[in-house]
């Protein structure tokens, strides 16, 4: 997908304490076929930040994701890719 996870609106929260990063994350669909890749990408990216020693990702479904959660930049990227949002 040509859009980052923040602009897609699936990151609901992020906090750091003593090097442990906690991420609240949802998916656009419960059957998201890319969910494993997304989890791996988040872990891999955050572990590259200085001072981060661990990453916990909480998958949440409430509130459910909808296209309304996307940023304008995310909409523009998806529309340029051919998706109606």
């Amino acid at each position: 997908m040509p859009v980052n996870l923040v602009d897609l609106g699936i990151v609901y929260g992020i906090a750091e304490h003593d090097g442990l990063v906690e991420v609240d994350l949802t998916f656009t669909a419960m059957g998201c076929p890319a969910s494993e890749f997304i989890l791996e990408d988040i872990r891999e990216r955050l572990m590259r930040e200085e001072g981060v020693c661990d990453v916990h990702i909480n998958i949440v479904w409430d509130p459910p994701w909808s296209a309304a959660r996307m940023t304008q930049a995310g909409r523009d990227a998806l529309e340029a890719w051919g998706l109606a949002v």
């Binding site: 040509p2 076929p33 494993e36």
Partner: protein, 314 residues
């Protein structure tokens, strides 16, 4: 309909062809042939992948496998839909052809029997599809197909990602998992190399190139594929029978075995000590491989069964 010389000028100018009344009969024939190969390849990958995706190691992995299959069916649909607009009967093409007349790469006829073989197919066969379709997307003179491929290319990236992520994961696991991966690569790598067809020195003339239905020759496409697959396999510590050399200041990938050579499809084994001719390869391709009839039957049988049982509107 344009004259042959008017049409040649249109092609040379780089303009896109948008409808059958802008084509010569020869171009229409070559375009249809190229679309049938593309549609058949995408379509047959669905049963080939499905029979292996059933062996996914987790529900999540199975979902990814099924999503890839859904993409492949959609990509097949794009090609067949364009063929229908060009006067072909989509239903006949898919459901009434003899299995041996399907025009997809031989590699899919060799059964994918495990999740490991499926992810190697995603890493290697989908990479071959990516190179072939990427070239068509870039250079194709037929506008409706060129535009349709925009999204196909984006989705093929997802398939590659699945292949590469899992190949890396299995290699890192080591032990028998890595051995299984190496065994899969050993038979699937040369089949993928063969995918691109006759080498340029044996293929004197390409109508597809002349009509800008593609832009790269078979050997150029093969080199593109090798330049993606060989370094990745080396990076994840998987051996492949090819290496990079620099010739006249240019990097080229060279195969470490006679090409083409003997393949035992039943046992999935290459004999690098037995070089064969391209005529021999063409005979093998025309005869099709072990799973051809079974895979075509997977979608044809149910279609005809359904038609039979619903013919009175029941």
């Amino acid at each position: 309909m344009p004259s042959a010389s008017e049409f040649a000028n249109t092609i040379k100018s780089g303009e896109l062809i948008e409808s059958p009344n802008e084509m010569t009969p020869e171009y229409l024939r070559e375009l249809k042939h190229t679309l049938v190969v593309s549609g058949d390849t995408e379509l047959i990958s669905a049963p080939a992948y499905y029979l292996a995706a059933k062996k996914a190691p987790s529900i999540n992995a199975f979902m990814t496998g099924i999503a890839i299959i859904q993409d492949e069916l959609a990509h097949a649909h794009i090609a067949y839909h364009i063929l229908e607009e060009l006067g072909e009967d989509q239903e006949k093409l898919i459901f009434s052809r003899d299995p041996k007349s399907f025009r997809y790469p031989y590699a899919f006829d060799v059964p994918l029997d495990s999740w490991t073989e499926l992810v190697v197919a995603n890493g290697m066969y989908d990479q071959a599809g990516f190179c072939l379709l990427g070239d068509i997307h870039d250079k194709c003179s037929y506008g409706p197909w060129k535009r349709g491929l925009n999204k196909v290319m984006a989705e093929e990236n997802f398939h590659l990602r699945n292949g590469r992520t899992w190949m890396k994961r299995i290699s890192q696991a080591g032990g028998s998992a890595k051995e299984e991966l190496q065994t899969a690569v050993d038979w699937m790598f040369p089949l993928s190399v063969e995918w691109f067809g006759l080498p340029d020195n044996l293929k004197m003339h390409s109508t597809q190139l002349e009509y800008r239905l593609k832009g790269l020759t078979n050997d150029q496409l093969r080199q593109w594929w090798l330049s993606q697959v060989v370094p990745y396999c080396e990076q994840i510590n998987i051996k492949v029978p090819a290496h990079k050399e620099t010739k006249d200041g240019t990097d080229v990938y060279v195969l470490d075995y006679p090409f083409p050579c003997e393949f035992d499809a039943e046992n999935k084994r290459w004999d690098f000590k037995k070089p064969i001719s391209w005529d021999d390869v063409l005979v093998r391709w025309r005869e099709r491989g072990p799973r051809n009839a079974e895979m075509v039957a997977m979608f044809q049988e149910e279609f005809h069964q359904y038609r039979k049982s619903h013919k009175n509107g029941n």
